[in-house]
Symmetry: C2
Subunit: 226 residues, 2 copies
């Protein structure tokens, strides 16, 4: 029984790792779409989202089957429940990356971003690229240290998000209404990507230590409107 459980848990953990890698790929592709007007990257992110959706479905199904057949308790149960919730978080991150890619595609061949906002968005993107590396490795290694770094770092993304509002409010920036709308929503999407990474990190800490560092994993507590 135990051997079967471990084998089945391994299979679902592999799918979850695959989701994290897929999210990383989507985040990078969305960044290329947004910051380099790479419309092919945009299309790849948009088309690839159904794979993440299918993986989420598969992970949840496998977890439900594990619960039914193996009746895990204690740590094993915590792992299975957290795995389901992580899959949902990753699926949502894929949606957000897709929204970024769609915005970039709509603006193509122009950039969705006005010149004056590009530097801030590049910094947000760099942050998220690094975070998505961390997400992949914390998950592969069940590494609470990396997870805690993701949680601690989130302030930096919030500060950058704040700068996108400062830009949007700056009357000296001559930008169209469409550009202003895009800056506001793109900023929101990237900030939410960071929030979800934090949520995922908290779940990994919970798996590893049994301690939930927040009990509030899905929240975006920072006042998101400035």
């Amino acid at each position: 029984m135990r051997v079967i459980f471990n084998e089945e848990l391994k299979a679902v953990a592999d799918d979850l790792d695959r989701m994290a890698q897929g999210v990383r790929k989507s985040i990078r592709g969305a960044g290329d779409a947004l910051l380099k007007q790479d419309v092919e990257a945009a299309q790849t992110v948009i088309d690839g989202d159904i794979e993440l959706d299918a993986l989420e479905e598969s992970v949840v199904d496998q977890c439900v089957k594990l619960l039914a057949k193996q009746n895990p308790v204690a740590t094993d149960l915590r792992v299975v429940v957290s795995t389901m919730r992580l899959a949902t978080t990753f699926e949502r991150m894929g949606d957000l990356a897709k929204h970024v890619a769609e915005t970039a595609r709509r603006a193509y061949p122009a950039s969705a971003l006005p010149e004056g906002a590009k530097e801030t968005f590049q910094q947000m993107q760099d942050f998220l690229d690094e975070t998505s590396d961390d997400v992949v490795s914390m998950l592969a290694d069940r590494d609470a240290k990396t997870a805690e770094r993701i949680i601690a770092n989130d302030d930096k993304l919030d500060a950058l998000h704040h700068k996108t509002f400062e830009f949007a409010l700056d009357e000296s920036e001559e930008i169209s209404r469409q550009q202003l709308i895009d800056v506001v929503l793109l900023g929101r999407f990237l900030e939410r990507l960071g929030d979800h990474a934090v949520s995922a990190a908290r779940r990994v800490v919970f798996i590893v230590s049994g301690f939930d560092p927040s009990k509030e994993p899905s929240r975006d507590e920072e006042g998101s409107i400035e």
Copy 2:
């Protein structure tokens, strides 16, 4: 065993009903804050959000205990897993209502909404008030018909959301950048509230019928940037 399971499941179902009622209250309060500049209502929504957070935590904890002790299978298992996921959806709806309330409070005593946008937001609010009634009753009655109505109606909210972008893009509307930012984000928050109601409805259909009408419950598929 069966009796204990049913009693414990009833207790968690009651907490979930309480969450749905709390969400309804938050949505109405957010609407009063936004459309009537009712700053006390705003504060009540903001302060009340921790209750929804605590209820989510409690529901998930109870479900994990049920899984550990009772090893539910088939329909019972589906109910327990869906209950956990519904709690997370409701918690998120509370966050979104809180964001709306925070925006209204920040603009007080002025309205966060420019005159020309009020009618559309009133219609979105009316829609969400009705939807939140439907969410409460579909949950209390495990009523797939009401759930299906929520799913079918979502197009109406998307169309209203689209109108908020038309407003924001209309150069003849003389509005400040802050107002434009608020219109865009408030529209997004209300649209997401509707998406989560649809997600909740799909989970209820799944509980009742065992058939998942989408397998894609958390998605906001409509291109959210116009």
